[in-house]
Symmetry: C4
Subunit: 318 residues, 4 copies
């Protein structure tokens, strides 16, 4: 994975699995995974035709930009068709106002009425040229709006597991030993089932030929939950077998440690598998604290979950 | 899972897997899973922006409410646009009736004809302002109706396995021992294939520091069926290895026992995986009865399945 | 599975897995799986509200019936709305022809123009009542056509693996022993990948308390293929371990034997998993013949597959 | 798989799994897999009704052809409906121009306005016949455009993993031994996760009764990556256990060797599993070179990946 051309960079078996970020490490490199789960990688070297992916672009841009794109396209299309009707001469539309600007406006509104197929008819095409252009425009309108509305609906209905992770992970005494704990919750009322989680540790290590990044799997007390109606606290026990055995906060800082959390589940509302990711760096770990409870019975006998307390912690007893 | 901050609450290995409801137990807490398979959990503590999920809301509300939302939105949008046309002055639409209420009605109907792109044209926009507003409204109408109709179709076509479970489970003599049996059937003629089921037992247990909830897997004679054209009876043998070995109806009642049933299958009609859940509490078990047969050959040589007899039982022979 | 209430009917471990049809056997019962892969089961005992699944119905009915449903609904809806306009009096639409039948036709066509949002405007609603009804009708039209067109497209685009199976299976000498072979092919040019197959044997067996149906898995030389560009011949070797070891054609006939074939694969064109099934009864097996080759290199160096020869056989050498 | 009728052609256990291309080998046969991942197989012998799959056709044809099909269908439909209006006589549409060609054009444009439901109304149907035909045409238009726009959107939004593979694979000294390396990258900014890869070796072997094709799995140092933000280099070590142990470039050429690469991953943007394939023939392997690094830190601390250097190699040190 990554730059296999420097031999020592390739992870040896037993050193833990590289999750895909490669083992090249340079002092200036920032975190692997953004707090929002986005890969911190930039791509260059391809022509626009090879990377241009309009659907991806339109589906992932923010809502303000999306609406702007739709509105501008509508404006531009109407301007172009209006120029077409103008080019066909003053008699191409009825009524035909006097001035050029008035004729342009008239053609522009006729175009809008054609593109959206609203077609009031108080402006109408006259002669073969204008009628043909209008026939083409209404076809173009139907096809273009199929794309626009399809993308709109796809944006609206795309499964986004809104998985929230506690701002910080905790390292605390637990059942006679120590444990690293990460808490997460489903912010939505969607039913999430068959959820799974993995923890990966990324650290820098000095090798004869320079720094490399090594990865270790952190075992979990439970890595699978059948249903996730409540919060889920991932528990990694820091025992003798743990790669974190005996390390201090300073060690983690020095090694540019990053704990990667991978989560997936099946969203029953959308009938689709959803994924979420986050990473914690050394300064995002809290030592000696534990997560405060988020739930208690409601008066009606159901459980009540206070999602706002997701990141709440309290001193952990020894 | 759940409140890890009270150590004893965390399930130890070997005690059975917590399906996600946590091990906190308080006397007042009701059942974990509703009879309709819904999690009995209430969420608080998040601002509306974090939990607001319009698609989820619109897709899961009942049909009466959905139609009301659509109708009201249509009414409100038309009123707002009508006010817009009114604000542009009496000459903005032709014809322009006399009174204010008449003008409002005229504008309201013109708006409806624009929003739905029906555009008869017997009312038409006059001047740049009204024409522009109409051009914007028809765009708005296309985009809004794309959402409304998309959601309508998604509601209509969403895969709902209509899995019916017998009202009660039975515990009965079976092949020299005893067995817990749960019967289910696919109410639809959809082809369900590759179906799977799991049984989990949830009980309260007294611990030095209070009650906790413990979970046990109940093994099944068969947990997988390639095709499910008929009913399926899940059979858990209560032998020496079973967590239910030797327990009485009173024990189950006292321990607030709940048998969780998880079901999944692939629906060929919808080409999607479907899930169903139910739980049985102690008072929903029948002792010493067995399920009556639901099927017999039809005159044409095909099998006939009487789904109405799903919950029928008869005395079980010893 | 099936009627667990008669103990002996439940398959014991080791007897092979019941694929879901139950073990009840009555002499008059026909085949389990139709040659088209449909379950041969009829459902009764449910009210129409519990089984009514309009989406499923509309998506699985044949094309002639679907188009008839659409056309009739269109006709009925237009008639009803036409009656509504008539009820609002002669002045509700302009122009208003003389006779009642003429007025009905006028209203009918106005309704059709409103429902489809074509809205020519040469007929237009007059007065508040008719305008309101038209506003409601155009909303109703948009929503109804969203369902109709959505279902139309869903029908058109639903993944149907067109897997063809040879009309008969063969039993023939093979590599010093005997083998049961079943040939199948993908009739479409879709890329099918990661395909899997299973063979199950269903036979009647006499037990002290009557006939029961028993099932056996038939092992395959290969049950998985990474890519399926060509035909695939499933090979079950009839060796000492095979449930078919030593059986004759007469034995199979007497035991009402049915060989069930389950197939699945991932269709790259539709990005979905597809399934196919078939069953062969005793009289659909050919003894002592083998499948003729279906492919040979084309002049351009590519392989050529003659799908028309799928069921072709030739005498098998000893 | 393939022609089971020649016994020796069937792969014996232990010889490696046939990925589905069969073991028949004839000297004239070209490569199994095109460089674009398409199967090199031609299908014959089926009637058009059995193979005709309009959705598949329309979804996979190129964009120019698709737009041509839509435009031609629009033209043809309008011509046919125009002939229908003509057949109903000169009074069927208003206005009714003089000449036949003028009447045809008038009917053609009226048809276009009806089919797209734009319905200006400056041309309108007169009498029962024309009104009925227009009512049918608008229904037909809605249904047809549902197909056309549905297919358009499906084409636009279909998940295409744009996985690029290096033009050539390399065979080079690696960690004291030799390794075959294949490099690939995700050309898009989509998040690809849970990616998997497999290498299969296809070679011709002489058998007493002729050439056959044999397959071997080539083990990978890593066949799974959790996330694929960067390039991925597949590494097969040519050690004593490798089927490639000791072979030379000439051996590979002689045996018509083809290395098949199968790739799959989960595309988070499309929430779907995507697949990619390629094959390398003997002359597409580079000996004694290694892939040049594609990535280095960007000034902002993120990694930068130069996709244009995917196929770049440099001399490999011993």
């Amino acid at each position: 994975m990554g730059s296999e051309s420097s031999e020592t960079a390739f992870p040896k078996a037993g050193e833990g699995e590289d999750p895909g970020f490669g083992t090249r490490a340079e002092p200036g490199t920032g975190r692997l995974l953004g707090r929002n789960g986005q890969f911190q990688v930039e791509r260059t070297g391809l022509g626009w035709r090879e990377t241009f992916s309009p659907y991806h672009l339109l589906i992932t841009m923010d809502w303000v930009r999306f609406h702007t794109v739709v509105l501008l396209s509508y404006l531009v299309a109407n301007c172009l068709f209006a120029l077409g009707y103008l080019a066909l001469g003053p008699g191409s539309l009825r009524p035909a106002p006097e001035g050029l600007w008035e004729r342009f406006l008239n053609a522009f509104f006729f175009s809008a009425q054609t593109l959206t197929t609203v077609g009031y008819g108080h402006i109408s095409p006259q002669g073969t040229g204008a009628s043909l252009l209008a026939a083409v425009e209404s076809l173009f309108g139907l096809m273009s709006f199929a794309l626009a509305t399809g993308i709109l609906f796809a944006r609206f209905s795309r499964p986004h597991a809104r998985i929230l992770f506690a701002k910080r992970a905790v390292v605390r005494p637990f059942q006679g030993g120590t444990a690293l704990m990460i808490r997460l919750v489903n912010a939505r009322t969607n039913h999430l089932i068959e959820t799974r989680a993995r923890l990966l540790l990324s650290r820098l290590r000095a090798r004869p030929d320079g720094l490399i990044r090594v990865y270790d799997e952190l075992s979990l007390d439970r890595h699978h939950v059948s249903m996730m109606p409540l919060d889920w606290t991932l528990v990694h026990r820091i025992d003798a077998d743990s790669p974190l055995s005996g390390v201090t906060s300073q060690d983690l800082e020095r090694d540019q440690t990053e704990v990667l959390v991978l989560f997936q589940g099946f969203d029953e509302t959308f009938s689709q598998t959803v994924h979420a990711r986050i990473s914690y760096q050394a300064d995002e770990l809290l030592w000696g604290r534990r997560f405060a409870s988020m739930h208690h019975p409601a008066p009606d006998g159901r459980m009540r979950l206070d999602v706002g307390k997701l990141s709440s912690t309290e001193p952990a007893p020894d």
